[in-house]
Amino acid sequence: MKNTRDTKSLFELSKPGRRATRLPVCDVPEQAIEDLLPPSALAERAPELPELSEPQVVRHFLNLSTQNMSVDTHFYPLGSCTMKHNPKRNERAAAMPGFADLHPYQPEESLQGMLQVLYEMQEYLSEISGLPACSLQPAAGAHGELTALWVAAAYFRDQGTINRHRKVLVPDSAHGTNPASAVMAGFEVVTVKTTVTGAVDMDDFHAKLDDHVAVFMITNPNTVGIFEPSMREIADEVHARGGLIYLDGANMNAILGVTRAGDFGADMQHYNPHKTFSGPHGGGGPGAGPICVTEELRPYLPAPVVAKVSSGQRVAGSSENGGIGAADGPLPTAHYHLDFGSEKSLGRVRSFFGNVGVLLRAYCYIRTHGPDGLRRVSEHAVLNANYLLSRVKHFLPVPQGDRCMHEFVATVAPLKAAKGVTAMDLAKRLLDYGFHAPTVYFPLTVKEAFMIEPTETESKETLDAFAEVLFRVTEEEPDVLHAAPHSTAISRPDEVAAARKPVMCHCG
């Protein structure tokens, strides 16, 4: 039900003198502002915010919202992003005042429930990864990568080998965040080739592996959805050179309870709870990027972590760390506190404790599923992906072969060669049929890549409908496809113009 009047920009809708908010009268004796603040610090006027009424704000944003596709409303097979169902019960939990209204500097005794969740979350993530030490702090997957690389740097520094271990190996099929994180952490990036299945090209690996390797950042299952066949070999060889293995855990949805990073040789991994554990993606974020590492690397984790004290035990040094009351009063019962960790800790990677709201949703998700349920998640994610692959391969080649884990990458290259139809054309045309597009042009190793991740929270009916539409689309006239989408309010924004002379805010 279109309404284009109320989706004019806020600034066009604004009218001088309109107000949606009424503040209470000041209940303390008011002093002249100029007596309280130096005039030189004062603005002449408040910022030019739009002036609106409350109904106007509601209509504006509600109408905007319906211009989005979303997991709540549409199939959204965006590869590598695990766009699974976002349970409403988790939203309800996160909205409880006992979580939503907690200040990060509350006394620990007033936070025991929160700290319990976080402590248990550390334990759960360690169990799922097989890596015993956990930091919940990183704010997203990329931030987790960066934090883990800082852990590695701290470790090598501590070992005195930081000047030798300068390189980070990154497969060419890896997500862009991997090389970007490596550079931010001060390492040199060395790209390793992968084969058509996305597997590490072992010849190239051997060619690149040397004593300077600090970390091999591997995505497993990799970005084409294949479990790395040489995983063990790679891990052993990197370890033999004194290097570490980092697992990009974005694809954990394929292997929950099936195999664990720690068991296949990784020393560190991050999670994307906003993918694997159903945190909603928020139109871009928030995410979280907790990491797990080996016992050996534990001392280098960022501070603080949550520690548990069994009944009758005193916390060492808690009052130095701002913990209130823990060292006073009667002997405590079992309780939780923030542990600011070792001298070796790499320090802080952000303010406060972490993206707790996302972690809490993930906690609810893990408790909803339990051990069997989590494994079933992976089983059905893999089943759905293979089923869709078995249907798609008949009309779009899937270079990796007949099998995948949680996602697969088809290629539109032959269609492009034959009819000039690109992956982008197909993606845009799918929108007309009420499907969000898969990820396109990633990984870079597959030409005209068309990366499909259905997730376990979709039905066979939806997968069938998607496969049928996709097939129909590949048969359509190229012109129809080049001009797609046809049914949306706008079609193919001119990105070149946008970048050439960028208009990044409303002027006037």
Partner: protein, 464 residues
């Protein structure tokens, strides 16, 4: 399985179509010897009703700003959140979508982000805003990295001690591996001295990071510091409190418009819950000339193939998914939902609402500061004017006891500063937002003074 559709029949049909016998066969790709041969050691599954009971019980072990009167600040604030913000933020089409890669089916998100960027430029007085970073601290660190790249100065970064200590620590983490030094300038009077700052700046100083109002709630001498910083050829990264802009000059306007080159902020105060510290909203704006070094997504306005005005992600060549190791930053997922909330919040407040909110914070915090100063036991730690936070000293040095007894009486007393500044271990950082009432403040003062009367008992408790 509440979220899985596949029935037993579906599974059979799908396996048959794939041509395998069982799901296990599909998992064969994982080598046998790498398999976990046992169930994960996790608590058993819970249905929704049980889960809710579990979670509610756990939540019940916390006290929170809804049942305890909070005077906590220090970067996370108990400002009022209008119901419309929640109503918009809980629209599935907003919060269950992702980065707007397909602009045609993401105009809602794109326009909201464009509006957010516009609001941030108007708030900061700078030309460009991105569409969010993780939080205030990482935004400050990213701002420092931008400054290092833009100035090509890799020597040092200068921060006053009055910068939020967690921001300083985060910056240290970010620059340490790059070999850049973080030099901290003391702020014994609660603000940094511009002349002292000048002595720390050399020709390899990339930037100064100035928080205003600073961590102690105090107003810095923004004009002088801007001048000193720019005189040294360094950039100024300004850290601001968005609510303060209802009264204070915008970072871009400091020193007569000379101003901050990069402005960053924690945006939680703009309509997001405190949620024990995250997820929050990293705000970042900068001068036009720095835009190609800016991290994070940026939305631009353009036209579509039919000439219809519309929005799309732009300047993506800065980003990791295009540039990989040459990207300006590794940021991928950002804090879009909280940028949306901030947009709704600011739309509801408007210029007058922001100004009134800021004024209430100022007046009320001053009221509490005045009340505390009247006491024999307490004094304000610093002289410079403050906005919504201030530091007070307990002459008896019993900060832990004050906090404990306040908690028992139903108050979060403030942030004990000893954890960050050993020489301020007799000090509390106190914050008063527009939500606090005079009655609450009067009661709080009574509790603190009651504590004073019971100092002997309190001492006994502490000694136990």
């Amino acid at each position: 399985m509440p979220y899985i559709y596949n029935t037993t029949q579906d599974v059979q049909d799908m396996l048959a179509a794939i041509g395998v016998e069982s799901i296990e066969e599909l998992l064969d790709m994982v080598p046998e010897d790498l398999r976990l041969g046992r169930p994960l050691d996790l608590p058993a599954a819970q249905g929704e009703m049980e889960l809710e009971q579990t979670i509610r019980t756990i939540a019940g072990k916390n006290r929170h700003a809804g049942d305890t009167v909070s005077f906590l600040g220090g970067g996370s604030y108990d400002h009022f959140i209008p119901a419309v913000v929640d109503a918009v933020g809980s629209r599935g089409e907003f919060y269950t979508s992702y980065t707007p890669y397909q602009a045609e089916v993401a105009q809602g998100n794109l326009q909201a982000m464009f509006e957010y960027q516009t609001l941030i430029t108007r708030m900061t007085g700078l030309e460009v805003s991105n569409s969010s970073l993780y939080d205030g601290a990482t935004s400050a660190a990213e701002g420092v990295l931008m400054a290092i790249a833009a100035t090509r100065r890799k020597g040092r970064v200068v921060v006053p001690a009055s910068l939020h200590p967690e921001y300083r620590q985060t910056i240290e983490t970010y620059v340490q591996c790059l070999g850049v030094e973080v030099v901290t300038i003391p702020a014994p009077a609660g603000v940094v001295d511009a002349d002292e700052l000048r002595t720390a700046l050399d020709d390899q100083t990339a930037c100064v990071v100035l928080q205003h109002p600073n961590f102690f709630g105090a107003l810095e001498d923004t004009d002088s510091i801007t001048r000193v910083t720019h005189d040294a050829g360094a950039l100024l990264v300004g850290v601001f409190d968005p609510i303060s802009l209802g009264l204070l000059k915008r970072p871009g306007d400091w020193n007569d418009g000379d101003g901050a080159d990069i402005a960053v902020a924690e945006g939680q105060c703009l309509g997001s819950p405190m949620a024990y510290g995250g997820p929050y909203l990293g705000i970042m704006a900068c001068r036009e000339k720095l835009v190609r070094r800016m991290p994070g997504r940026i939305v631009g306005q353009t036209v579509d193939r039919r000439g219809t005005p519309c929005y799309t992600l732009t300047l993506q060549t800065r980003e990791q998914h295009i540039r990989r190791e040459k990207a300006t930053s590794n940021v991928c997922s950002n804090q879009g939902l909280f940028a949306l909330r901030a947009t709704v919040y600011l739309s509801l407040l408007g210029p007058e609402g922001l100004k009134e909110t800021a004024t209430l914070c100022l007046q009320k915090s001053r009221y509490l500061a005045d009340r505390l100063s009247e006491s024999d036991r307490f004094e304000l730690a610093f002289a410079p004017p403050t906005f919504k936070e201030f530091v007070f000293r307990d002459r008896e040095g019993k900060v832990d006891t004050l906090v404990k007894q306040s908690l028992d009486a139903g108050f979060f007393a403030g942030v004990p500063l000893g954890q960050f500044y050993p020489d301020l271990d007799d000090c509390l950082l106190v914050c008063v937002t527009e939500k606090r009432t005079r009655a609450e403040m009067d009661a709080f003062v009574e509790v603190l003074e009651g504590t004073a009367k019971d100092a002997k008992d309190a001492k006994l408790v502490a000694a136990e």
